[in-house]
């Protein structure tokens, strides 16, 4: 037996070692540093580590920051819901209604989104602008008498653009997971007389739930952390928490405040990332108890969470 075989720990070291060192240096350490900086101050352009909570005080006492945090979170939810809502029918169509060349359709969708982050935003701006494509078309056709200015530089434009940006991250997980749904399951449901909507709701959806959760989460994180769309197509009221964080490093010299905003964002995102696991846990608790009770859905007795339904 070779030395490596003999010592399992040596094997583990060789396999994990490099990644662990990298993770410690470039994942863990930077977060520690960011926390450290969030507890520091800047005096005359010099960083002073005096372990103070002042930056967090500034954050939570000023509505400028707390409002932006809430605004970004809400926007993230809307964007994620919209992106998932668009990805689902598209993925379903390609997976179940397209018979040949599914890959071409898939590639077609993915490539459309491959333009480049900033350029996609610019493209939307050209479309929605005062003398942009949409206004131009609508006025030349006669629907509008003069260009409308409500299409861009407002929160709606930001949501629209971010939904588009998020599509790459929602479509792919949902599509991949949908591909794994065996057609014969859907076929069986259909043979048993289930109409299309029931097939989708009761066979497809539960199977693709994990993919949907992943896509939803990605979209939320993307919108929450994006600072380009609000800057390029938003109004002053669309400022997101990400904008405030980045501007502390760009314009202001308030790195410690920027780091503090970053720390708050990390906590927020972690909470959201753990949400699917938490929800799944709850879901399984409820459904698990359901299935233990037997196949009859009318005889639900999941315990203290739901009212007891007497057996008929």
């Amino acid at each position: 037996m070779s030395a490596i075989r003999r010592h399992r720990w040596l094997q583990a070291l060789l396999l994990f070692g490099p990644a662990a060192i990298w993770a410690a240096a470039f994942i863990v350490f930077p977060v520690v540093e960011a926390v450290k900086m969030s507890l520091s101050q800047i005096e005359y352009y010099h960083l002073v580590h005096d372990w103070t909570l002042k930056n967090f005080e500034t954050f939570f006492s000023n509505p400028l920051y707390t409002d932006a945090l809430v605004r970004s979170a809400v926007r993230g939810l809307i964007v994620a819901a919209a992106a998932v809502a668009i990805s689902l029918p598209l993925a379903h169509f390609i997976s179940f209604r397209v018979k040949r060349h599914q890959f071409v359709w898939f590639a077609g969708v993915v490539v459309a989104l491959w333009l480049g982050y900033l350029l996609r935003i610019v493209g939307w701006r050209i479309l929605l602008g005062n003398d942009g494509v949409l206004n131009g078309l609508l006025t030349s056709v006669g629907i509008l008498s003069h260009p409308t200015r409500v299409l861009v530089f407002n929160p709606f434009a930001v949501i629209l653009v971010q939904t588009h940006l998020a599509m790459s991250f929602t479509f792919i997980p949902i599509f991949v997971v949908m591909q794994r749904v065996p057609h014969r399951l859907m076929q069986a449901a259909s043979d048993l007389g289930a109409p299309r909507w029931r097939q989708i709701l009761e066979v497809e959806l539960p199977l693709i739930a994990p993919g949907v959760a992943v896509g939803f989460t990605f979209a939320f994180v993307l919108s929450f952390g994006d600072y380009f769309a609000p800057q390029l197509v938003g109004d002053p009221g669309s400022v997101g928490i990400a904008n405030l964080a980045s501007s502390q490093f760009e314009h202001g010299l308030a790195w410690p405040l920027g780091a503090a905003i970053g720390v708050v964002m990390i906590v927020a995102v972690l909470a959201v990332l753990m949400l699917p696991a938490v929800l799944m846990w709850i879901y399984r608790r409820v459904i698990g108890i359901r299935s233990r009770r037997g196949a009859d859905p009318a005889q639900v007795n999941p315990g203290p969470l739901v009212e007891e339904v007497p057996a008929s």
Partner: protein, 262 residues
């Protein structure tokens, strides 16, 4: 009749969705051929001079070169770190394993701003240099997650007993790896690499925080947007899009079909 209308409805719906997806790309491409620099309606076609200007633009070409370098190097680092880690995660069970896996995924799951910001605080506090290396570090850290995920997917369904069989037959670690393990994970690595390259080339948010004197292409685009109107960025963007499209078509002809069917 109802089925017909239903089909029509579905067709229109899907059509609208595809329209939604394609609008920005089409608009950017059309205006890359615009005569003037102002992108308003109606577009004045047809002029290729933005394309020639893009190629003559030193900063832009430098940015393109840097983006390619960063993409290749970051992906290589991510593969060198992520493949062994993926193998290890598959073989070993230990306390904190899930935590370690989640830790590796974190930079990919977090907003780019956070990764860039935290890395920047290290750089600022230790008074280090911002350079292409810092960009590469930021990208590689993010891409490890993709490699690890791909490895997990492939190893999950691969029969470990093949490895044991090889070793029972007398092969040592290295031979086992090259003749048994490698061919099976090769596809996963290539897939992860291609995806990683695509992601790195477009990466803007975290790059903006840790970029130094040498810009990547997305940063050049950002600087251009900040300075003045220039459809040169439309030109370069459309070009990258078309090349990706061609790349995907070629790839699909030469054997990606099985990956899609997976």
């Amino acid at each position: 009749m109802r089925a017909r209308l239903g089909s029509l409805g579905v067709g229109v719906g899907i059509g609208l969705i595809l329209l939604f997806l394609y609008i920005p790309a089409v608009i950017v491409a059309v205006y890359s051929l615009n005569k003037g620099a102002v992108m308003s309606w109606p577009p004045e076609l047809l002029s290729f001079h933005w394309y020639s200007k893009a190629f003559a633009n030193e900063a832009m070409m430098e940015g393109l070169k840097n983006s390619v370098i960063v993409a290749l190097v970051s992906v290589s680092i991510a593969v060198l770190l992520g493949v062994p880690a993926g193998l290890g995660v598959d073989r070993f069970q230990f306390f904190g394993k899930t935590a370690f896996q989640r830790l590796l995924m974190l930079p990919f799951l977090m907003p780019g701003l956070i990764s860039g910001l935290t890395l920047l605080t290290v750089i600022l506090d230790f008074q280090l240099e911002l350079s292409l290396m810092t960009v590469i570090i930021a990208h590689a850290t993010m891409l490890i997650a993709i490699v690890v995920i791909q490895m997990a997917v492939v190893l999950d369904r691969w029969d470990r007993s093949l490895e044991l069989a090889a070793q029972d037959l007398g092969a040592n670690e290295i031979r086992t790896f090259f003749y048994v393990t490698w061919p099976n994970i090769r596809a996963a690595i290539v897939g992860a690499s291609l995806l990683g390259i695509a992601i790195s080339l477009d990466e803007t948010a975290r790059t903006a925080f840790v970029v130094g004197e040498s810009d990547t292409l997305p940063i050049v685009v950002l600087s251009s947007l900040r300075r003045t109107l220039t459809p040169e960025i439309n030109a370069i963007g459309t070009l990258v899009l078309v090349i990706s499209l061609v790349g995907v078509i070629i790839w699909s002809k030469f054997g990606a079909a099985d990956l899609a069917r997976e």
